[in-house]
Subunit: 268 residues, 2 copies
Protein backbone atom coordinates (compact mmCIF):
# COMPACT_ATOMS: atom_id res chain seq x y z
CA UNK A 1 0.00 0.00 0.00
CA UNK A 2 3.10 2.20 0.16
CA UNK A 3 2.43 3.56 -3.33
CA UNK A 4 -0.60 5.41 -1.93
CA UNK A 5 1.42 7.04 0.84
CA UNK A 6 2.27 10.72 0.55
CA UNK A 7 6.04 10.93 1.08
CA UNK A 8 6.81 13.53 3.79
CA UNK A 9 8.30 16.81 2.54
CA UNK A 10 7.13 16.33 -1.03
CA UNK A 11 4.69 18.49 -2.93
CA UNK A 12 1.88 16.35 -4.35
CA UNK A 13 -0.48 16.94 -7.27
CA UNK A 14 -3.81 15.12 -7.18
CA UNK A 15 -3.91 14.80 -10.96
CA UNK A 16 -0.96 12.40 -10.71
CA UNK A 17 -3.02 10.00 -8.57
CA UNK A 18 -5.75 8.15 -10.44
CA UNK A 19 -9.09 7.81 -8.61
CA UNK A 20 -9.88 4.95 -11.03
CA UNK A 21 -6.89 2.85 -10.03
CA UNK A 22 -7.46 -0.80 -9.02
CA UNK A 23 -4.09 -2.21 -10.07
CA UNK A 24 -3.22 -3.98 -6.80
CA UNK A 25 -6.28 -6.23 -7.10
CA UNK A 26 -7.84 -6.49 -10.51
CA UNK A 27 -10.50 -9.05 -9.60
CA UNK A 28 -13.48 -7.50 -7.81
CA UNK A 29 -14.92 -10.81 -6.51
CA UNK A 30 -11.57 -11.95 -5.14
CA UNK A 31 -11.15 -8.51 -3.58
CA UNK A 32 -14.51 -8.73 -1.82
CA UNK A 33 -13.68 -12.18 -0.45
CA UNK A 34 -10.37 -10.87 0.80
CA UNK A 35 -12.15 -8.02 2.58
CA UNK A 36 -14.20 -10.56 4.58
CA UNK A 37 -10.98 -12.25 5.70
CA UNK A 38 -9.42 -8.90 6.56
CA UNK A 39 -12.44 -7.97 8.69
CA UNK A 40 -12.10 -11.19 10.69
CA UNK A 41 -8.44 -10.43 11.23
CA UNK A 42 -9.31 -6.86 12.22
CA UNK A 43 -11.79 -8.15 14.83
CA UNK A 44 -9.16 -10.41 16.41
CA UNK A 45 -6.54 -7.65 16.42
CA UNK A 46 -8.93 -5.09 17.85
CA UNK A 47 -9.66 -7.53 20.66
CA UNK A 48 -5.95 -7.64 21.46
CA UNK A 49 -5.71 -3.84 21.21
CA UNK A 50 -8.51 -3.52 23.80
CA UNK A 51 -7.00 -6.11 26.13
CA UNK A 52 -3.47 -4.71 25.93
CA UNK A 53 -4.51 -1.07 26.45
CA UNK A 54 -1.02 -0.01 25.39
CA UNK A 55 -1.74 1.59 22.01
CA UNK A 56 -4.56 3.37 20.13
CA UNK A 57 -5.41 3.71 16.44
CA UNK A 58 -6.81 6.91 14.95
CA UNK A 59 -8.22 6.80 11.41
CA UNK A 60 -8.86 10.22 9.87
CA UNK A 61 -11.23 10.20 6.88
CA UNK A 62 -11.32 13.15 4.52
CA UNK A 63 -12.64 13.60 1.01
CA UNK A 64 -14.99 15.63 -1.19
CA UNK A 65 -18.77 15.27 -0.75
CA UNK A 66 -19.95 11.78 -1.84
CA UNK A 67 -16.37 10.44 -1.73
CA UNK A 68 -17.55 7.63 0.54
CA UNK A 69 -16.55 8.52 4.10
CA UNK A 70 -19.78 7.10 5.56
CA UNK A 71 -19.65 4.08 3.26
CA UNK A 72 -16.08 3.28 4.29
CA UNK A 73 -17.07 3.32 7.97
CA UNK A 74 -20.16 1.23 7.27
CA UNK A 75 -18.37 -1.41 5.21
CA UNK A 76 -14.87 -1.57 6.66
CA UNK A 77 -15.67 -0.96 10.33
CA UNK A 78 -18.83 -3.04 10.53
CA UNK A 79 -16.86 -6.03 11.74
CA UNK A 80 -15.42 -4.26 14.75
CA UNK A 81 -16.63 -4.44 18.34
CA UNK A 82 -18.43 -1.14 19.02
CA UNK A 83 -17.27 -1.32 22.64
CA UNK A 84 -13.74 -0.35 21.65
CA UNK A 85 -14.45 1.75 18.56
CA UNK A 86 -15.47 5.39 18.65
CA UNK A 87 -16.62 7.36 15.61
CA UNK A 88 -16.86 11.15 15.64
CA UNK A 89 -18.28 13.34 12.89
CA UNK A 90 -17.15 16.93 12.96
CA UNK A 91 -19.74 19.40 11.67
CA UNK A 92 -19.76 23.20 11.47
CA UNK A 93 -18.25 24.40 14.79
CA UNK A 94 -20.67 25.65 17.45
CA UNK A 95 -20.21 29.20 18.85
CA UNK A 96 -18.52 27.68 21.95
CA UNK A 97 -16.12 25.66 19.77
CA UNK A 98 -15.39 28.69 17.63
CA UNK A 99 -14.35 30.65 20.69
CA UNK A 100 -11.41 28.25 21.17
CA UNK A 101 -8.42 27.24 19.04
CA UNK A 102 -9.34 24.84 16.22
CA UNK A 103 -7.89 21.76 17.98
CA UNK A 104 -9.84 22.33 21.21
CA UNK A 105 -12.87 20.33 20.15
CA UNK A 106 -10.79 17.61 18.52
CA UNK A 107 -8.41 16.76 21.36
CA UNK A 108 -11.08 15.32 23.73
CA UNK A 109 -12.30 13.02 20.94
CA UNK A 110 -8.95 11.28 20.34
CA UNK A 111 -9.04 7.56 21.15
CA UNK A 112 -7.82 6.35 24.57
CA UNK A 113 -5.38 3.42 24.77
CA UNK A 114 -7.12 0.21 23.76
CA UNK A 115 -9.44 1.96 21.32
CA UNK A 116 -9.85 2.54 17.63
CA UNK A 117 -11.05 6.07 16.87
CA UNK A 118 -12.48 7.20 13.56
CA UNK A 119 -12.82 10.84 12.55
CA UNK A 120 -15.42 11.38 9.83
CA UNK A 121 -14.05 14.75 8.76
CA UNK A 122 -11.64 16.27 11.27
CA UNK A 123 -9.39 19.18 12.22
CA UNK A 124 -8.40 19.18 8.53
CA UNK A 125 -11.66 20.94 7.68
CA UNK A 126 -10.09 23.95 9.38
CA UNK A 127 -7.47 24.14 6.63
CA UNK A 128 -9.83 23.11 3.79
CA UNK A 129 -13.33 24.60 3.83
CA UNK A 130 -11.96 27.68 5.63
CA UNK A 131 -9.40 28.25 2.86
CA UNK A 132 -11.80 27.67 -0.04
CA UNK A 133 -14.14 30.25 1.50
CA UNK A 134 -11.24 32.54 2.40
CA UNK A 135 -12.06 32.55 6.10
CA UNK A 136 -8.34 32.25 6.94
CA UNK A 137 -5.26 33.70 5.25
CA UNK A 138 -2.45 31.66 3.67
CA UNK A 139 -0.25 32.67 6.59
CA UNK A 140 -2.83 31.39 9.08
CA UNK A 141 -3.15 28.12 7.10
CA UNK A 142 0.61 27.57 7.25
CA UNK A 143 0.61 28.17 10.98
CA UNK A 144 -2.19 25.64 11.36
CA UNK A 145 -0.27 23.02 9.35
CA UNK A 146 2.53 23.28 11.92
CA UNK A 147 0.08 23.17 14.82
CA UNK A 148 -1.51 20.04 13.35
CA UNK A 149 1.88 18.37 13.00
CA UNK A 150 2.79 19.17 16.59
CA UNK A 151 -0.61 17.97 17.84
CA UNK A 152 -0.39 14.68 15.94
CA UNK A 153 3.18 14.15 17.14
CA UNK A 154 1.93 14.45 20.73
CA UNK A 155 -0.66 11.74 20.07
CA UNK A 156 1.93 9.46 18.43
CA UNK A 157 4.38 9.97 21.29
CA UNK A 158 1.64 8.71 23.60
CA UNK A 159 1.22 5.46 21.63
CA UNK A 160 -1.43 6.39 19.04
CA UNK A 161 -0.94 5.26 15.46
CA UNK A 162 -2.50 7.74 13.03
CA UNK A 163 -3.75 6.75 9.57
CA UNK A 164 -4.93 9.68 7.48
CA UNK A 165 -6.98 8.69 4.45
CA UNK A 166 -7.96 11.00 1.63
CA UNK A 167 -10.73 9.29 -0.36
CA UNK A 168 -9.95 10.40 -3.88
CA UNK A 169 -12.83 10.52 -6.41
CA UNK A 170 -12.99 12.28 -9.76
CA UNK A 171 -15.34 15.16 -10.50
CA UNK A 172 -17.13 12.91 -13.02
CA UNK A 173 -17.67 10.23 -10.40
CA UNK A 174 -19.14 12.84 -8.05
CA UNK A 175 -21.59 13.82 -10.80
CA UNK A 176 -22.70 10.20 -11.15
CA UNK A 177 -23.19 9.91 -7.37
CA UNK A 178 -25.10 13.20 -7.10
CA UNK A 179 -27.32 12.22 -10.05
CA UNK A 180 -28.04 8.93 -8.30
CA UNK A 181 -29.24 10.84 -5.23
CA UNK A 182 -31.44 13.03 -7.42
CA UNK A 183 -32.98 10.09 -9.29
CA UNK A 184 -33.56 7.77 -6.32
CA UNK A 185 -36.48 9.03 -4.16
CA UNK A 186 -35.23 7.28 -0.98
CA UNK A 187 -31.84 8.98 -1.33
CA UNK A 188 -33.12 12.49 -2.03
CA UNK A 189 -33.05 13.55 1.63
CA UNK A 190 -29.26 13.27 1.52
CA UNK A 191 -28.99 16.09 -1.03
CA UNK A 192 -28.60 19.71 0.03
CA UNK A 193 -28.23 22.83 -2.08
CA UNK A 194 -24.93 23.39 -0.25
CA UNK A 195 -23.51 20.15 -1.76
CA UNK A 196 -24.42 21.36 -5.24
CA UNK A 197 -22.79 24.74 -4.59
CA UNK A 198 -19.60 23.23 -3.12
CA UNK A 199 -19.14 21.25 -6.35
CA UNK A 200 -18.51 24.58 -8.10
CA UNK A 201 -15.43 24.97 -5.85
CA UNK A 202 -13.89 21.65 -6.95
CA UNK A 203 -10.62 23.20 -8.18
CA UNK A 204 -10.19 25.30 -5.07
CA UNK A 205 -10.76 22.24 -2.88
CA UNK A 206 -8.20 20.29 -4.91
CA UNK A 207 -5.63 23.01 -4.36
CA UNK A 208 -6.42 23.20 -0.63
CA UNK A 209 -6.11 19.41 -0.30
CA UNK A 210 -2.83 19.36 -2.24
CA UNK A 211 -1.32 21.93 0.11
CA UNK A 212 -2.67 20.35 3.28
CA UNK A 213 -1.63 16.80 2.35
CA UNK A 214 1.84 17.97 1.31
CA UNK A 215 2.38 19.97 4.49
CA UNK A 216 1.02 17.45 7.01
CA UNK A 217 2.12 14.04 5.74
CA UNK A 218 4.76 13.20 8.32
CA UNK A 219 6.57 10.03 9.35
CA UNK A 220 4.53 10.07 12.55
CA UNK A 221 1.21 10.55 10.76
CA UNK A 222 1.34 9.97 7.00
CA UNK A 223 -1.46 10.66 4.51
CA UNK A 224 -2.67 8.05 2.03
CA UNK A 225 -4.44 9.00 -1.19
CA UNK A 226 -6.98 6.21 -1.67
CA UNK A 227 -8.36 5.61 -5.18
CA UNK A 228 -12.09 5.80 -4.40
CA UNK A 229 -14.04 5.77 -7.68
CA UNK A 230 -14.53 2.02 -7.15
CA UNK A 231 -16.10 1.47 -3.74
CA UNK A 232 -14.96 -2.15 -3.36
CA UNK A 233 -11.35 -1.21 -4.12
CA UNK A 234 -11.49 1.73 -1.70
CA UNK A 235 -12.73 -0.67 1.01
CA UNK A 236 -10.08 -3.22 0.08
CA UNK A 237 -7.23 -0.68 0.41
CA UNK A 238 -8.57 0.77 3.67
CA UNK A 239 -9.08 -2.69 5.22
CA UNK A 240 -5.48 -3.58 4.32
CA UNK A 241 -4.14 -0.36 5.85
CA UNK A 242 -6.07 -0.76 9.10
CA UNK A 243 -5.11 -4.42 9.53
CA UNK A 244 -1.48 -3.70 8.74
CA UNK A 245 -1.39 -0.77 11.22
CA UNK A 246 -2.74 -3.06 13.95
CA UNK A 247 -0.35 -5.91 13.02
CA UNK A 248 2.64 -3.60 13.32
CA UNK A 249 1.71 -2.70 16.90
CA UNK A 250 2.82 -6.20 17.91
CA UNK A 251 0.15 -6.37 20.61
CA UNK A 252 0.57 -8.68 23.58
CA UNK A 253 -2.01 -10.34 25.84
CA UNK A 254 -1.74 -8.65 29.25
CA UNK A 255 0.08 -10.44 32.05
CA UNK A 256 -2.07 -11.97 34.81
CA UNK A 257 -2.21 -10.43 38.28
CA UNK A 258 1.08 -11.53 39.97
CA UNK A 259 -0.67 -11.66 43.37
CA UNK A 260 -2.89 -14.56 42.32
CA UNK A 261 -1.64 -18.12 42.78
CA UNK A 262 -3.42 -19.62 39.77
CA UNK A 263 -2.21 -23.17 40.41
CA UNK A 264 -3.83 -23.45 43.81
CA UNK A 265 -6.78 -21.09 43.33
CA UNK A 266 -10.16 -22.71 44.03
CA UNK A 267 -13.53 -21.15 43.22
CA UNK A 268 -15.83 -21.66 46.19
CA UNK B 1 -40.19 -11.99 24.79
CA UNK B 2 -42.82 -10.56 27.14
CA UNK B 3 -42.34 -13.43 29.58
CA UNK B 4 -38.90 -12.03 30.43
CA UNK B 5 -40.27 -8.57 31.16
CA UNK B 6 -40.51 -7.43 34.78
CA UNK B 7 -44.11 -6.23 35.21
CA UNK B 8 -44.11 -2.73 36.73
CA UNK B 9 -45.16 -2.50 40.38
CA UNK B 10 -44.50 -6.15 41.11
CA UNK B 11 -41.97 -7.58 43.48
CA UNK B 12 -39.74 -10.10 41.72
CA UNK B 13 -37.68 -13.00 43.05
CA UNK B 14 -34.72 -14.10 40.95
CA UNK B 15 -35.10 -17.73 42.03
CA UNK B 16 -38.38 -17.82 40.05
CA UNK B 17 -36.51 -17.00 36.82
CA UNK B 18 -34.38 -19.84 35.47
CA UNK B 19 -30.95 -18.83 34.11
CA UNK B 20 -30.95 -22.18 32.25
CA UNK B 21 -34.12 -21.45 30.29
CA UNK B 22 -34.07 -21.87 26.48
CA UNK B 23 -37.73 -22.78 25.97
CA UNK B 24 -38.48 -20.20 23.24
CA UNK B 25 -35.91 -21.76 20.92
CA UNK B 26 -34.80 -25.26 21.74
CA UNK B 27 -32.54 -25.75 18.73
CA UNK B 28 -29.15 -24.08 19.15
CA UNK B 29 -28.16 -24.25 15.47
CA UNK B 30 -31.47 -22.81 14.29
CA UNK B 31 -31.11 -20.12 16.95
CA UNK B 32 -27.67 -19.14 15.73
CA UNK B 33 -28.91 -18.91 12.13
CA UNK B 34 -31.78 -16.74 13.27
CA UNK B 35 -29.34 -14.42 15.06
CA UNK B 36 -27.54 -13.80 11.74
CA UNK B 37 -30.84 -12.79 10.14
CA UNK B 38 -31.70 -10.58 13.11
CA UNK B 39 -28.33 -8.81 12.85
CA UNK B 40 -28.98 -8.01 9.19
CA UNK B 41 -32.38 -6.62 10.11
CA UNK B 42 -30.79 -4.63 12.95
CA UNK B 43 -28.29 -3.09 10.54
CA UNK B 44 -31.05 -1.95 8.17
CA UNK B 45 -33.16 -0.55 11.02
CA UNK B 46 -30.21 1.25 12.57
CA UNK B 47 -29.59 2.88 9.21
CA UNK B 48 -33.14 4.22 9.27
CA UNK B 49 -32.74 5.32 12.89
CA UNK B 50 -29.67 7.34 11.92
CA UNK B 51 -31.31 8.88 8.85
CA UNK B 52 -34.56 9.76 10.63
CA UNK B 53 -32.84 11.32 13.68
CA UNK B 54 -36.21 11.29 15.47
CA UNK B 55 -35.62 8.58 18.09
CA UNK B 56 -32.79 6.97 20.08
CA UNK B 57 -32.31 3.54 21.64
CA UNK B 58 -30.58 3.03 24.97
CA UNK B 59 -29.64 -0.52 25.99
CA UNK B 60 -28.61 -0.89 29.64
CA UNK B 61 -26.64 -4.06 30.44
CA UNK B 62 -26.32 -5.23 34.01
CA UNK B 63 -25.38 -8.56 35.56
CA UNK B 64 -22.99 -10.29 37.94
CA UNK B 65 -19.30 -10.66 37.01
CA UNK B 66 -18.87 -13.07 34.04
CA UNK B 67 -22.59 -12.80 33.19
CA UNK B 68 -21.65 -11.88 29.62
CA UNK B 69 -22.06 -8.12 29.27
CA UNK B 70 -18.97 -7.80 27.05
CA UNK B 71 -19.88 -10.93 25.11
CA UNK B 72 -23.39 -9.64 24.41
CA UNK B 73 -21.98 -6.40 23.00
CA UNK B 74 -19.41 -8.29 20.96
CA UNK B 75 -21.83 -10.79 19.48
CA UNK B 76 -25.11 -8.91 19.22
CA UNK B 77 -23.81 -5.45 18.35
CA UNK B 78 -21.04 -6.52 16.00
CA UNK B 79 -23.33 -6.08 13.01
CA UNK B 80 -24.08 -2.44 13.71
CA UNK B 81 -22.52 0.60 12.11
CA UNK B 82 -20.12 2.06 14.71
CA UNK B 83 -20.85 5.54 13.35
CA UNK B 84 -24.27 5.56 15.03
CA UNK B 85 -23.57 3.29 17.99
CA UNK B 86 -21.93 4.46 21.21
CA UNK B 87 -20.83 2.13 24.00
CA UNK B 88 -19.96 3.41 27.47
CA UNK B 89 -18.52 1.37 30.33
CA UNK B 90 -19.00 2.88 33.76
CA UNK B 91 -16.20 2.09 36.21
CA UNK B 92 -15.56 3.19 39.78
CA UNK B 93 -16.43 6.93 39.87
CA UNK B 94 -13.55 9.42 39.78
CA UNK B 95 -13.24 12.00 42.58
CA UNK B 96 -14.79 14.63 40.27
CA UNK B 97 -17.73 12.33 39.47
CA UNK B 98 -18.18 11.51 43.13
CA UNK B 99 -18.51 15.19 43.96
CA UNK B 100 -21.74 15.29 41.90
CA UNK B 101 -25.08 13.51 42.10
CA UNK B 102 -24.92 9.91 40.80
CA UNK B 103 -26.66 10.73 37.47
CA UNK B 104 -24.28 13.57 36.61
CA UNK B 105 -21.77 11.39 34.79
CA UNK B 106 -24.46 9.31 33.11
CA UNK B 107 -26.61 12.04 31.55
CA UNK B 108 -23.96 13.31 29.06
CA UNK B 109 -23.48 9.72 27.80
CA UNK B 110 -27.13 9.13 26.82
CA UNK B 111 -27.58 8.60 23.05
CA UNK B 112 -28.58 11.55 20.85
CA UNK B 113 -31.44 11.14 18.34
CA UNK B 114 -30.41 8.82 15.53
CA UNK B 115 -28.10 6.77 17.78
CA UNK B 116 -28.04 3.50 19.62
CA UNK B 117 -26.36 3.79 23.00
CA UNK B 118 -25.15 0.88 25.09
CA UNK B 119 -24.32 1.14 28.78
CA UNK B 120 -22.00 -1.63 29.96
CA UNK B 121 -22.91 -1.23 33.64
CA UNK B 122 -24.72 2.00 34.40
CA UNK B 123 -26.31 4.26 37.02
CA UNK B 124 -27.71 1.03 38.47
CA UNK B 125 -24.31 0.30 40.02
CA UNK B 126 -25.15 3.17 42.38
CA UNK B 127 -28.00 1.12 43.85
CA UNK B 128 -26.19 -2.24 43.65
CA UNK B 129 -22.51 -2.29 44.60
CA UNK B 130 -23.12 0.65 46.95
CA UNK B 131 -25.84 -1.28 48.79
CA UNK B 132 -23.93 -4.55 49.02
CA UNK B 133 -21.04 -2.65 50.57
CA UNK B 134 -23.36 -0.52 52.72
CA UNK B 135 -22.15 2.75 51.26
CA UNK B 136 -25.73 4.05 51.12
CA UNK B 137 -28.70 3.52 53.45
CA UNK B 138 -31.98 1.84 52.46
CA UNK B 139 -33.62 5.24 52.57
CA UNK B 140 -31.04 6.67 50.19
CA UNK B 141 -31.50 3.67 47.87
CA UNK B 142 -35.26 4.26 47.73
CA UNK B 143 -34.72 7.91 46.92
CA UNK B 144 -32.35 6.90 44.13
CA UNK B 145 -34.91 4.48 42.65
CA UNK B 146 -37.32 7.41 42.29
CA UNK B 147 -34.62 9.65 40.86
CA UNK B 148 -33.75 6.95 38.32
CA UNK B 149 -37.39 6.61 37.28
CA UNK B 150 -37.72 10.37 36.81
CA UNK B 151 -34.47 10.53 34.86
CA UNK B 152 -35.45 7.69 32.54
CA UNK B 153 -38.89 9.22 32.03
CA UNK B 154 -37.20 12.42 30.87
CA UNK B 155 -35.20 10.44 28.29
CA UNK B 156 -38.32 8.59 27.09
CA UNK B 157 -40.30 11.83 26.80
CA UNK B 158 -37.56 13.06 24.48
CA UNK B 159 -37.90 10.06 22.14
CA UNK B 160 -35.47 7.53 23.64
CA UNK B 161 -36.56 3.92 23.95
CA UNK B 162 -34.89 2.26 26.93
CA UNK B 163 -34.23 -1.48 27.14
CA UNK B 164 -32.82 -2.61 30.47
CA UNK B 165 -31.34 -6.09 30.42
CA UNK B 166 -30.31 -8.08 33.47
CA UNK B 167 -28.13 -10.97 32.30
CA UNK B 168 -29.11 -13.71 34.69
CA UNK B 169 -26.58 -16.49 35.37
CA UNK B 170 -26.50 -19.02 38.20
CA UNK B 171 -23.80 -19.10 40.85
CA UNK B 172 -22.73 -22.53 39.49
CA UNK B 173 -22.35 -21.10 35.99
CA UNK B 174 -20.19 -18.30 37.38
CA UNK B 175 -17.95 -20.92 39.00
CA UNK B 176 -17.54 -22.66 35.63
CA UNK B 177 -16.65 -19.38 33.95
CA UNK B 178 -14.20 -18.31 36.66
CA UNK B 179 -12.54 -21.75 36.55
CA UNK B 180 -12.19 -21.38 32.80
CA UNK B 181 -10.32 -18.09 33.32
CA UNK B 182 -8.06 -19.73 35.87
CA UNK B 183 -7.28 -22.74 33.64
CA UNK B 184 -6.75 -20.87 30.35
CA UNK B 185 -3.44 -18.95 30.40
CA UNK B 186 -4.60 -16.37 27.76
CA UNK B 187 -7.65 -15.55 29.88
CA UNK B 188 -5.89 -15.21 33.21
CA UNK B 189 -5.32 -11.46 32.87
CA UNK B 190 -9.12 -11.02 33.11
CA UNK B 191 -9.20 -12.35 36.66
CA UNK B 192 -8.83 -10.06 39.67
CA UNK B 193 -8.91 -10.88 43.36
CA UNK B 194 -11.84 -8.44 43.60
CA UNK B 195 -13.95 -10.71 41.32
CA UNK B 196 -13.26 -13.65 43.60
CA UNK B 197 -14.20 -11.63 46.67
CA UNK B 198 -17.40 -10.27 45.15
CA UNK B 199 -18.57 -13.84 44.54
CA UNK B 200 -18.83 -14.19 48.32
CA UNK B 201 -21.50 -11.48 48.23
CA UNK B 202 -23.70 -13.37 45.73
CA UNK B 203 -26.79 -13.42 48.00
CA UNK B 204 -26.50 -9.75 48.86
CA UNK B 205 -26.21 -8.88 45.16
CA UNK B 206 -29.27 -10.98 44.41
CA UNK B 207 -31.26 -9.09 47.01
CA UNK B 208 -30.04 -5.72 45.75
CA UNK B 209 -30.93 -6.68 42.16
CA UNK B 210 -34.39 -7.90 43.19
CA UNK B 211 -35.15 -4.61 44.88
CA UNK B 212 -33.72 -2.46 42.10
CA UNK B 213 -35.45 -4.34 39.29
CA UNK B 214 -38.77 -4.32 41.15
CA UNK B 215 -38.61 -0.61 41.91
CA UNK B 216 -37.41 0.62 38.51
CA UNK B 217 -39.19 -1.53 35.95
CA UNK B 218 -41.63 1.01 34.53
CA UNK B 219 -43.81 1.19 31.43
CA UNK B 220 -41.43 3.80 30.08
CA UNK B 221 -38.30 1.75 30.80
CA UNK B 222 -38.97 -1.90 31.63
CA UNK B 223 -36.42 -4.42 32.84
CA UNK B 224 -35.95 -7.82 31.21
CA UNK B 225 -34.45 -10.78 33.04
CA UNK B 226 -32.47 -12.59 30.35
CA UNK B 227 -31.63 -16.27 30.91
CA UNK B 228 -27.88 -16.14 30.38
CA UNK B 229 -26.36 -19.50 31.31
CA UNK B 230 -26.44 -20.40 27.59
CA UNK B 231 -24.61 -17.70 25.66
CA UNK B 232 -26.29 -18.40 22.30
CA UNK B 233 -29.76 -18.16 23.88
CA UNK B 234 -28.85 -14.93 25.68
CA UNK B 235 -27.72 -13.46 22.34
CA UNK B 236 -30.87 -14.74 20.63
CA UNK B 237 -33.18 -13.08 23.19
CA UNK B 238 -31.23 -9.80 23.20
CA UNK B 239 -31.15 -9.65 19.38
CA UNK B 240 -34.92 -10.17 19.31
CA UNK B 241 -35.51 -7.43 21.89
CA UNK B 242 -33.30 -4.89 20.11
CA UNK B 243 -34.82 -5.57 16.68
CA UNK B 244 -38.33 -5.43 18.05
CA UNK B 245 -37.64 -2.13 19.87
CA UNK B 246 -36.38 -0.62 16.60
CA UNK B 247 -39.30 -2.04 14.58
CA UNK B 248 -41.82 -0.48 16.95
CA UNK B 249 -40.33 2.98 16.37
CA UNK B 250 -41.88 2.89 12.90
CA UNK B 251 -38.99 4.90 11.45
CA UNK B 252 -39.46 6.92 8.27
CA UNK B 253 -36.95 8.00 5.62
CA UNK B 254 -36.54 11.79 5.97
CA UNK B 255 -38.30 14.05 3.49
CA UNK B 256 -36.12 15.72 0.82
CA UNK B 257 -35.32 19.44 0.98
CA UNK B 258 -38.53 21.19 -0.27
CA UNK B 259 -36.45 23.98 -1.82
CA UNK B 260 -34.87 21.65 -4.38
CA UNK B 261 -36.65 21.08 -7.71
CA UNK B 262 -35.52 17.47 -8.19
CA UNK B 263 -37.22 17.05 -11.59
CA UNK B 264 -35.27 19.83 -13.26
CA UNK B 265 -32.05 19.67 -11.25
CA UNK B 266 -28.93 19.19 -13.39
CA UNK B 267 -25.46 18.40 -12.04
CA UNK B 268 -22.96 20.59 -13.89
Amino acid sequence: MKIYRVTPDTRIKLKHASPEDTHLCDDKDAGKKEIEKLLERMDALQDKLYAAKSRALLVVLQGMDTSGKDGTIRHVMRGVNPQSCQVFSFKVPTPEEQAHDFLWRVHPKTPPKGFMGIFNRSHYEDVLVTRVHKMISDKEAKRRFKEINHFEKLLCDNGTVILKLFLHISKDEQRVRLEDRIKTPEKRWKLSTADMQERQNWKAYERAYEEALSATSTDAAPWYIIPANHKWYRNWVVAHLVVSALEKMNLKTPKPDPHIDFKNLKVK
